[in-house]
Symmetry: none
Subunit: 211 residues, 4 copies
DNA sequence: AATGAATGAGCCTTCATTCAT
DNA sequence: GATGAATGAAGGCTCATTCAT
């Protein structure tokens, strides 16, 4: 657990091997992400990953047990990284508008900074949800929602928030920004960077849940 | 030529063959949707489809050219069907709140009525976007956005709407409902039907864009 | 038989449909040759031919019975055309050197004028030889050899020719020119046109069989 | 690394499996040649090869990457073997007539000794020439021609040879034998063995290039 | 920990051919 | 004569996974 350092983005996207980092586990994950960035989910095959990181088939299986294991490991690594970032920003916020802003902008900034990982998170979710670590994923999601709701609860009681069922809260706050980011990530062309609409998206989220 | 009638949902999901309808093309598409409903995108293999609809491999290729061709055809059929539904409801709306309501609830109702098709639409989009009919998809999306914006434009000028860049409009209006529906479709368990939050979601969308 | 006019070379090799000539049979053969010219023997599939000439699958089968039927028909058409050309030039020759020259140069000139057909003749031979018209092919070859030997016979008796077994005669006379032409046809690059070596090849053939 | 031993001809042409030799790579190549001998180029399918040598599909792809890879590997193995044989005989020759004799007879003897490989060499060439190892093939051909010309050069300067452009030299010397051998290999019936015309063919080649 | 040969099910696609209209 | 939908065998190839070294 101590290892698992920050994952440098799949920068050298030239499709060729990257130099090993001394940490096989991490090399493999980096290679998997690079493969994904280049050809989508279906390009992440053991063979492709192997070619990229120079590990052997056996080594990959030694570390992750299965192809799905690789994907899940990468998924949870990225998810944790992202969660922590947003969570810490939320914790610093004093009032609701600031909290909503932290959530929306924190997410948005992370997506812009790490488009490959954001894309991966979107696409790998269903794979992980259908695998043996599905419960872990569900638990994480629950925890996250709880944390969010816990943060909001005092403010709702104070009457700052509209009386919104907690199940929809996340969708109201994050829906718009996710929707825009998803579209931006999908379309290689055309749409302006989410950066351009940081304020608009944050404001709208606040208005949607304000009393 | 006036054919391509409404696609009855993949109801008989027993995994066995369905009775042919006389229209091979439609049989194949129905079978493809049924396969998808049963096992997700990756279950849509030519072999699976073939078994379901009783067509021969060659026949499928005769009509659709490739596996991707089948998926794209189904995708556009469903997309058109859904678009028309929402569009017609929007057209009937007199003021902005009603319009937003029509968009959100129209979408929500359709998703609840046709969960399989909604799921398919979500998952097949990236496939189609990466294939030879990508332009067609882009064109459709553009058209749809334009129609939406055209409807809103007079009201914005009237000052009923906040001054929101048109690129984000769709995300603000549809983001929350899509977000919730997507989560509901993904989680086979737990989440309440979107029906329960019709009003909440519609109201929030309206608040997000109101002046 | 009266029809079967001269086959215009697959000139419009742009891969698209050619305008019909009113003679379906000929259209199909032209299309087949064009397909071959573009992608080699294996590109001559019924489907490819169909796309090129605008005929229907059924029509092709109506005229030729099978794929092999198309190839054989084209083969024999071209073979006859070529044979007649050389044969008529041979008939005009008065002495042996002139005869050898007529054979070598006649062949060489035809190859240079119709590279696609020459290539086809080389590659289709084995296909035809393995099909139901194999006997016809063998008969044609025998006839041709006999004609050649018959022309030479008087001169051999006159002592102008070396005493060469008749089975090798054709190889001695035509081997070098065929060898060079075959290599030239195969290599899209590099080798000079056979035209450049007309005299050299004719002379060598004469020397090889001269007394 | 010193492996890749001589390839024993596809003798046990009974169409059933042969006993493995411990060298998978070689087993596969042997099986491929046997398939070819039995049914021509189109009988060399992965499935056929697999049945013959007992390897799995995956194993074949592991070693050769593609069907074409198998063919190319076999082609180059045989080509090298044949080249070396003829080359070594040429090296031993003292004067031009002997050299020409070595070339013609060396080739002829090899063909008679290994008809399957000779046939394969003829038929596989175009396949290899159209594949990713085309350059390698061209390089090999160039090298071979250069070696031949290098051997002849001193004699030409000495005036023993006619003044023949070097590009046609190979065709003049080898054309007749190749022509006869090709016909012999093609016709399952009728033609006498090339052995019968060893001297005739060698002599003719010499006469064709003599001063 | 690592290696890489081997496995074999399964996938997409092509193709020659038939036949009812 | 012509059409094109339908057929189904066959082919090349990918891929996750195992295992002896």
């Amino acid at each position: 657990m101590a290892s698992r350092k920050s994952i440098t983005d799949a920068t050298a996207a030239s499709g060729t091997a990257e130099q090993p980092s001394g940490d096989r586990r991490q090399d493999i994950l980096n290679a998997a992400l690079a493969c994904f960035a280049e050809g989508g989910m279906e390009a992440v095959s053991i063979e492709m990953v192997r070619q990229r990181c120079g590990a052997s088939v056996g080594s990959i299986y030694h570390h992750f047990g299965s192809k799905e294991g690789v994907i899940a490991a990468l998924f949870f690594d990225i998810l944790a990284e992202q969660s922590q970032g947003v969570q810490s920003q939320l914790a610093k916020s004093k009032d609701v508008p600031a909290g909503v802003k932290a959530l929306v902008m924190g997410y948005l900034d992370w997506v812009v900074a790490h488009p490959d990982r954001a894309r991966f998170l979107f696409q790998a979710r269903s794979v992980v949800a259908g695998g043996p670590r599905a419960q872990e994923l569900a638990a994480h999601a629950r925890e996250r929602n709880l944390a969010l709701l816990a943060w909001f609860e005092p403010h709702r009681r104070a009457g700052v928030l509209a009386d919104i069922p907690c199940e929809v809260m996340p969708s109201l706050v994050m829906g718009p920004v996710q929707s825009y980011c998803r579209a931006w990530l999908a379309g290689s062309t055309g749409m302006p960077s989410p950066k351009k609409y940081r304020d608009t998206l944050a404001l709208a989220a606040w208005k949607a849940v304000a009393a």
